[in-house]
Amino acid sequence: MTQASPTRSTSTNRLLAFLRDERFLQALSQIIFILIIGGVAYWLTQNLLAALARQGIRLGYGFLTETAGFDIGEMMIEYSRESLFARALQVGLLNTLLVCFWGIISSTIIGLVVGVARLSTNFIINRIAWVFIELMRNIPLLVLLVFLHGGIFLQLPRVREAIAIPGSIYLSNRGLTIPWFTLTPAFSIQVPELQGFNFSGGLTLSPEFSALLIGLSIYTGGFIAEIVRAGIQAISKGQTEAARALGFSWWQTLRLIILPQAMRVIIPPLTSQYLNLTKNSSLAVAIGYPDLLSISNTISNQTGRSIEMITIIMAIYLSLSLITSAILNWYNNKVRLVER
């Protein structure tokens, strides 16, 4: 029987072996995959080019150096309607960074306080923290933002009847007015006072900025609180008991024993919360705060350059995300338990 197929020579066998080789199959499937992806990409590009030709649009980023011609409500750098589109984007980026910076700080503070309160033995404090966390985790951020903006800030009374909160904080339809420090001529804290139809001194945050900042802070704070609680609970009870046995007070135990250890558990999920906050700040577009996304929307409405603007925006948010996660990874490596 072995003599029956002398024609099936060694070369055929070799070919068969080659065809069944794992490495060959892998290479083949890669090539097929690339061909499919390339084909789809080619088809989409052809469609795009045809659509652009039909509508008479040409792609390009040259329009960024044209005059913007629209006003922006809030800005940190000099800008007027004679400025360029690129400058307008810069204004938007800075506004986004501003709200993210303060949002990260205040959401961390809120999260820390509420997370610790959630573990309090005091019944009322514990329940308040629970209700707060469950509210924040189960209401969409966008609904929270439009509620704060349209339902609360825009319904506030005029400046003369502003609602005063202890600590020289005023709420009016101009926004939130708080005491603020000044560096010129020397460091001092200014307290806002009602003079005529406006406040003098202090800092007035627009209704849009206040709603966005408060919304982002309490929403993210609710998530951070759960992370903090989980982090503290991950520390074994023996640590607390040992600290108490050594005569540490409740506060010292928390500050010197529990939190430093809990930080290691807390940092990685905290990172993703900060990233979420950065991305969520783009919801400003719904309440009219001139952040990066809403300015780019204005630009694409004016110029019709939606493809270019979307790619710019995606690139910027992607790099913001990568930078934030790089910084936090670096910090995470620093606080990591050093093993021998």
């Binding site: 469609n47 009322i124 209401i139 966008l142 439009v146 339902g151 995606m314």
Partner: protein, 402 residues
């Protein structure tokens, strides 16, 4: 084995009993700063909530909700085809009832709240009689399911899990219809979907259709094929690195340009495409977590049995990985339910979008607090109940622990 455990029975810790005063002392006033905290927070609570409750019962005009209840719930869905929505709700009530009776059981509070919620809705004067009867019918269906589930116990377990999986595609089918000619069970286009109905449909479509893509992306990310792996990593990381709203803008503004001439998608379908892409990237990461949890021995055992890579994935790895990610999938369903509110920004009439268009009408100007409070309550209720049930199920079924 059992004999040894009989005499060494583990006793539960002694139950602590307090009098009312004893409880108050221990939980509210055990130290001087505890007392201070209690009094301080009680004062703050009073200062914040007293005006709010006063507002809700005196100044607030809730008529805006009553007058637009149907719009908020189902948008422009034709009233003659309302039975389909009710059918979806009845089926959901029965399956939920059975699951509750079988797995959740004892927990009373949320269950009772769920039974009471339809009665609360019956209070709206704008509802017609048959709406109220249907709401009552749903409660009865849910209760019947509950008792069946409790009586039959675990024997229905497989069937119930299966019906949950079949339920979601069924909802899409029922709401959309079949018949192209507009007679019985005709197609109701996506431009008629609105309100809470659209919110749910976006979520269901997002999860159902993103599931295969998510699994493929997760497998691709762990693949040994360099290009496949690279493509999957780039896709997942880019989608996860940008805000959801930019993906929605992309699907609304840029996607039409990539389609061949003559093919147009309406805005709801385009938004669904955005939701699916977004959800697939996040789902892929969750499934990847499930894949990583599978011990290496499983792969080696499959190889020893002579299975090839494809067979190993289909028969050995995926069934275990998917089982482990079920709780995470429920979590993702809930967060997608909340995230779909973003479609309001691109002009769709979901629960939030329809509220915003309602508030733009001259009749309802200045009614923002009432409307937003109502829809917040709706979102809160659904998402809280879903996460509560999923937590209970996780504990009961031991999913993800094996």
């Amino acid at each position: 084995m059992t004999t040894a455990t009989v005499d060494r029975k583990i006793l539960p810790p002694p139950i602590e009993r307090y009098t009312v005063l004893g409880w108050v002392y221990k939980n509210l006033f055990s130290t001087w700063y505890d007392a201070l905290l209690t009094l301080g927070s009680a004062t703050v609570l009073y200062l914040v909530f007293a005006p709010m409750i006063g507002w809700a019962f005196t100044t607030a005009k809730w008529e805006v909700i009553n007058a637009n209840l149907r719009l908020l719930m189902i948008g422009q869905y034709p009233p003659s085809e309302l039975w389909r929505i009710w059918a979806c709700l009845y089926i959901a009530a029965i399956i939920l009832g059975v699951s509750w009776g079988m797995w959740v059981r004892g927990s009373g509070g949320v269950g009772i709240a769920l039974i009471v919620a339809p009665f609360f809705f019956m209070l709206f004067p704008s509802l017609e009689l048959n709406d109220r009867l249907n709401l009552g019918g749903i409660v009865i269906a849910a209760l019947a399911g509950f008792f069946i589930g409790r009586a039959r116990g675990k024997s229905l377990s497989r069937l119930t899990t299966l019906s949950w999986i079949v339920y979601f595609p069924l909802v899409i089918f029922l709401v959309r219809g079949l018949n192209e000619e507009k007679q019985f069970f005709g197609v109701i286009g996506s431009n008629f979907w609105g309100g809470l109905l659209l919110t749910f449909l976006l979520t269901v479509v997002g999860i159902v259709f993103s599931f295969p893509f998510g699994v493929l992306l997760a497998l691709g990310r762990r693949s040994s094929l360099t290009f496949v792996k690279m493509f999957c990593i780039i896709f997942i990381e880019v989608i996860r690195g940008v805000p959801f709203i930019t993906i929605l803008f992309m699907s609304q503004l840029v996607l039409p340009l990539f389609l061949p001439a003559g093919l147009t998608l309406d805005r709801v379908i385009r938004a669904m495409a955005g939701v699916i892409i977004f959800s697939a990237a996040y789902l892929a990461e969750n499934v990847r977590g499930g894949l990583q949890a599978i011990p290496k021995g499983q792969f080696e055992a499959a190889e020893a049995l002579g299975l090839n890579g494809f067979q190993t994935t289909i028969y050995i790895i995926l069934p275990q990985a998917l089982r482990a990610v079920i709780p995470i999938l429920v979590g993702q369903f809930i967060s997608l339910f909340k995230d779909t509110s973003l479609v309001a920004i691109v002009g769709l009439y979901d629960l939030l979008g329809i509220s915003r268009s309602l508030l733009a009408q001259p009749d309802f100007i200045g009614r923002q607090p009432e409307v937003y409070m109502f829809i917040s309550a709706i979102y809160w209720m659904f998402s809280y109940v879903m996460s509560y049930i999923s937590q209970r199920l996780e504990v009961r079924m031991g999913v993800g622990e094996r």
